[in-house]
């Protein structure tokens, strides 16, 4: 899904016409991006995911452009979240199916997981279990 597609004669990416290192450049850029920015990069052929949390929830954001809501499946089994997406198209080339499983760090109320899809990005909200939430303990000073 993240792969660059082969270009055709009439419309070529900038650089490939001029630079002898066109392919290499992007590889090097990728290397710099992943090592210098502190960001992990998605395994090859898989959609990138981000994890966030706040006091009450853990959030998973997945980049899934061009998928219909009905074709996204979100499943929670024990502490693993599995996102499956497929794109069905008249054009066979654009059809694909991909799936990613991630372990969620906190205890999750599996029955209250919700998800929304906007602008090609899926956001899954995983409410934390009460016992996993940070607690404020007031200590009496005597």
């Amino acid at each position: 899904m993240r792969n660059d597609y082969p270009e055709i004669r009439g419309l070529a990416p900038l650089g490939s016409l001029r630079s002898p290192w066109a392919g290499l450049e992007t590889e090097i850029d990728r290397l710099f991006e992943s090592t210098l920015s502190g960001f992990a990069s998605a395994p090859r052929g898989q959609f990138p995911v981000d994890l966030y949390e706040d006091r009450d929830n853990t959030y998973v954001r997945a980049e899934l452009p061009g998928v219909r809501r009905d074709d996204i499946n979100v499943e929670m089994v024990e502490d693993h979240l599995t996102i499956t997406a497929q794109r069905k198209d008249d054009d066979d080339e654009e059809s694909f199916s991909c799936s990613r499983s991630l372990s969620v760090p906190e205890q999750v109320q599996a029955d209250k997981v919700s998800a929304s899809y906007e602008n090609g990005v899926l956001t899954v909200t995983l409410p934390k279990r009460e016992e996993a939430k940070p607690k404020k303990i007031s200590v009496a000073i005597t």
Binding site: Y5, G10, E53, G66, G120
Partner: protein, 133 residues
């Protein structure tokens, strides 16, 4: 990346076009895309997850087609990042072309983070059947 990019693009683009200067100052990433040729035109599909219509800019110049997309999602207050794979940098795709399509007749459709551009071929290039008399 910006260092490499600025060296390479400045050297190869010695004329100093604005596009080269822009890429040198702002880090961008190239989106996944596909070009398909059909009898009467080209179809360009670009994957721009997280980009909204207002953050999308398509520019057709003499022999260059540029697509820029900004993601407008901001990490809400109170959210802490645990793990990150996506990048905040805006998308930028610059394609050189030989004017074989008519940019005035281009049609763009943007949905669910996917941009589909239909670029009809210039009349001259469309296949014509020649009758044998």
């Amino acid at each position: 990346m910006s260092l490499l990019n600025s060296i390479i693009s400045n050297r190869s683009d010695a004329a100093g076009s604005n596009a080269a200067l822009e890429t040198a100052t702002q880090r961008t990433i190239r989106p996944a895309y596909k070009v398909k040729e059909e009898a009467d035109g080209f179809g360009l599909t670009v994957l721009l997850p997280g980009v909204t219509k207002s953050g999308l800019e398509i520019t057709a110049e003499a022999s260059q087609l540029s697509i820029r997309g900004r993601r407008n999602w901001k990490q809400p207050e109170g959210w802490t990042q645990i793990y990150r794979e996506s990048v905040d940098a805006p998308f930028e795709l610059v394609l050189q072309h030989d004017n074989s399509f008519d940019s005035d007749k281009a049609v763009a459709e943007f949905r669910h983070g996917v941009l589909r551009l239909a670029l009809p071929k210039t009349e001259v290039l469309k296949p014509k059947k020649i009758k044998i008399g």
